[in-house]
């Protein structure tokens, strides 16, 4: 059917360009509750997504371009779908932009071979592994777990000659550990997205969460704090790369689309900080080539090849991440979709960054900074006050501040780690952050 769509598009002389993607997914899902397996699902889907460009004109007669899109399921009417997309494209008059042409595609590792071959069994094995590891901890119980495994295949063809195919796998797991001591209950929640089972590290994830669950039983609300705050591992990854719901501040401000819309004040060659940087200098890449990165690919939805783009070098903004449209609008190179966040290793061993006293935040309720202004006021689900050699657990309180101001005064560990969509130092010490806890009044 893809060939039929391509042939039909080639015959449309009123189109300035087109892209068609054939997307197939298949997967398996397993859900557990304390009583056993709640649900098992097998899922598949297939569709064709057509994007077309059409020459139009502005009200004053200047050349312009319109775009339109439409999807169809196997067996649906190809001509009617192309008509729909073409009709929409004819209604819009945007500045003219192009489509990417053929280019060499990097060989980015994206899939787990076992999952490709048998998603159902692999997901059942992952669930069994989670349950077995949790069962090793006598004082905590696994009260919920979800395992999703999907295989995605995308075949993209466009009017400039791109004809590319890629296959990737994605695993999403969640689990909840619960503990109880008298009247007090606690739980910790973990969610991970990875490309392959080997990167889940279920054993260490459950080990860590079991410890936090037990410590959480002793946790009280924190007092207010201003000073060093340490983020490690997953908490740092979420701070740097955002989550499924909220992209990162850097991703928004370094996006050519944001720049074009007036959301981003960043300028190439200018500092990214509004005040003097006091900590380690900041260098950041947007990297779609990261092996098994959860935001990696060989090519993006426009067909642009994966790249590793230096966004910020030593606190100075270097380049915007730009799809073809916004690259053409801003007359900058097209880099494609954003991808994963990568930082270089810092200069300081993590152990040296843990100079007491400090606060370590293990888990946010939801770190959701305003991605335009960078301001945040986010509840802390669980953390530790570390002083005099004692780690005192706490829960509650709000981390309050501004994202870029925080990055202007941070020291990065020399040890690095891979956390799905973040690759970089696994520990960061923010030298002067504020936690609103007990003891202040309005």
């Amino acid at each position: 059917m893809l060939n039929q769509i391509v042939e039909a598009l080639k015959k449309r002389s009123n189109l300035a360009g087109w892209t068609v993607r054939h997307v197939r997914t298949r997967g398996a899902q397993v859900y557990a509750v304390p009583q056993g397996i709640e649900s098992q699902r097998a899922v598949d889907g297939e569709r064709y997504i057509i994007d077309v460009l059409r020459n139009t004109s502005t009200p004053d007669g200047s050349p312009a371009l319109g775009s339109g899109d439409a999807s169809l399921l196997p067996g649906e009417d190809i001509g009617h779908t192309i008509d729909q997309a073409t009709l929409v494209a004819g209604l819009v008059a945007n500045p003219v932009h192009g489509l990417p042409g053929p280019a060499a595609l990097p060989d980015v590792p994206l899939y787990d071979t076992d999952l490709q071959n048998d998603a159902s069994n692999v997901m059942r094995d992952v669930m069994d592994h989670i349950r077995a590891e949790a069962a090793k901890h006598v004082d905590v119980r696994l009260t919920a777990a979800e395992c999703f495994g999907e295989v995605h295949n995308t075949h993209l063809v466009n009017s400039r000659g791109i004809n590319a195919e890629q296959e990737s796998t994605q695993i999403d797991i969640e689990f909840v550990l619960h503990s109880q001591k008298g009247e007090r209950e606690s739980e910790t929640f973990e969610a991970m997205t990875r490309r392959r089972v080997a990167d889940l590290n279920v054993e260490s994830a459950i080990e860590d969460r079991a410890r936090y669950t037990l410590d959480s039983l002793e946790a009280e609300a924190p007092t207010s704090w201003q000073g060093p705050v340490v983020l490690r591992q997953n908490a740092l990854a979420i701070f740097m790369a955002g989550d499924n719901l909220n992209g990162s501040v850097i991703q928004t401000l370094a996006s050519a689309a944001s720049k074009y819309a007036g959301f981003s004040p960043w300028e190439v060659g200018k500092p990214v900080f509004r005040s003097e940087a006091k900590g380690d200098s900041l260098t950041v890449w947007a990297n779609r080539c990261l092996p098994f990165g959860s935001a990696s690919d060989r090519f993006d939805a426009e067909g642009l090849p994966a790249q590793r783009i230096e966004l910020i070098r030593d606190n100075e903004f270097v380049a915007f991440a730009a799809g073809q449209r916004y690259a053409d609008y801003l007359q900058i190179p097209a880099t494609g979709a954003f991808g994963n966040i990568e930082l270089p290793a810092g200069k300081t061993p993590a152990s040296t960054l843990l100079v007491e006293p400090y606060i370590e935040i293990v888990q946010f309720s939801w770190f959701n900074p305003d991605t335009i202004t960078g301001d945040f006021g986010t509840e802390i689900r669980f953390g530790y006050l570390v002083q005099n050699g004692i780690r005192t657990p706490f829960k509650g309180g709000q981390l309050v501040g501004n994202y870029m101001d925080a990055l202007a005064d941070v020291r990065w560990s020399s040890e690095i780690g891979f956390f799905g969509s973040y690759f970089g130092p696994h520990t960061a010490r923010f030298n002067d952050l504020k936690i609103a806890g007990q003891g202040q009044g309005g």
Partner: protein
Amino acid sequence: MTELKLPIAMAELRPVLGDIVELGMDLAPYFSVLLSSRHGLSIVVDNREERVTERAPTAGTVLSGFDGSTNFERAVGGFNREEILAATRDFIQGTPFQKYAPQAESERRGDFVTPVQIDPLELSVQEKLDRCRAVQARAKVRDARIVNVRVVYNELNEHAVFADASADLAQRVQRVNMFVIVIVIGTAGEVRYDFSAKSGSAGWEVLNWSDEEIQSVVDGALALLNAERIEPGEYRIITTPGVSGTICHESFGHGVETDMFLKERARAAHFIDKVVGSPLVNIADDPSQPGSYGSYFFDDEGHMAAPTQIVENGIFRRGITDRYSATALEIPRSANGRRQDYSRKAYARMSNTFFSPGASTLEEMIAQVAHGIFLDKWSSGMEDPQGWGIQVTCHYGHEIKGGKITDRVFAPIGITGYVPDVLQSITAVSNVLEMDGGTCGKGHKEQVPVASGGPHLLLTARLG
């Protein structure tokens, strides 16, 4: 009443669903079929470009077999009759169902359609684009500091057919929303923005903007150029209906989804028929509420929509359920078994969740506050059913001093607190009920359209 017109492939498959259910019930103690099609349109118009795009459509068939302990499902893309029949045979023969006698359910039959005055499916794309352009044109000229005005229109067209041994149901649910986002720049180059939204299970008739409403968004963005960070601490606050609704959603919405009871993740499970808030607190979830963004006629498990009283005069009465958790917990079902789309399982999810209105006027409430904060607008929230913590982020709030709202603005403001403490602190409830539409996740995924709302509330909470 608008006539229900199903997508052709769905309409063609519907007559054989009885046969598929019969086939499924040869081996599965309970068997159902859901046909689900969700598509939509997005239009974005701003100062620099326009985009008209299809919202990523989903269309597929869910075959569900339940044996009392596990819910087995096969989800197949599309509505091809032969493929669905083959998948049903393969599914039931390959699934190890245990013996189980499901509870008999009442007969449910009918076709349902969201009542609309200006049907989005009857308007051309050109007409919708022109309407968005008109709103954008009215906003962008209002102040020289505006660098961009973005108008975002979304329509979601949902069609569903559900069949089991005692149900033959079909519905079309039509949802629309529109955002106006104003971006301004200050003298030091700082970028600030404000937004407002309208939404409903309705047509274009709910997307009219007055000049005052548009000016209010511009004023809000400009005021943020001078906003301060609030000194963290405990404050007397008054919440607008949108903020009230978000508190409600995150506390006695997520906190009473009974799948969370089953997973031992909800503290509310220990509080049935106990006091959880001031006597002024009444909370309900109602998918049958006319016009609200989270409404529907039956849920994704074929249960007919009806209101659920969650909190009554400060006492927690019951939660909202999906089939599995209601069965396992042996409690009555409510119509809250919802899926993101055919590719995801059903969970207990909210629909339209709200504090019921009280007797006070807003003016009376403001007059009671010597020093506090009027929380104008919410931007996000996150649940914590086990810890019963609240995290609600407000885009901004105004100072209240001496019983009057001042021009002093704080942004952003986070509200945190322990749910019963926050609800116990409510001392006045206004006499209005307004609902805000939005999208709700279960944790960080499983997005479904919902509404939340209520009246203004006067309460005490920690801000930061």
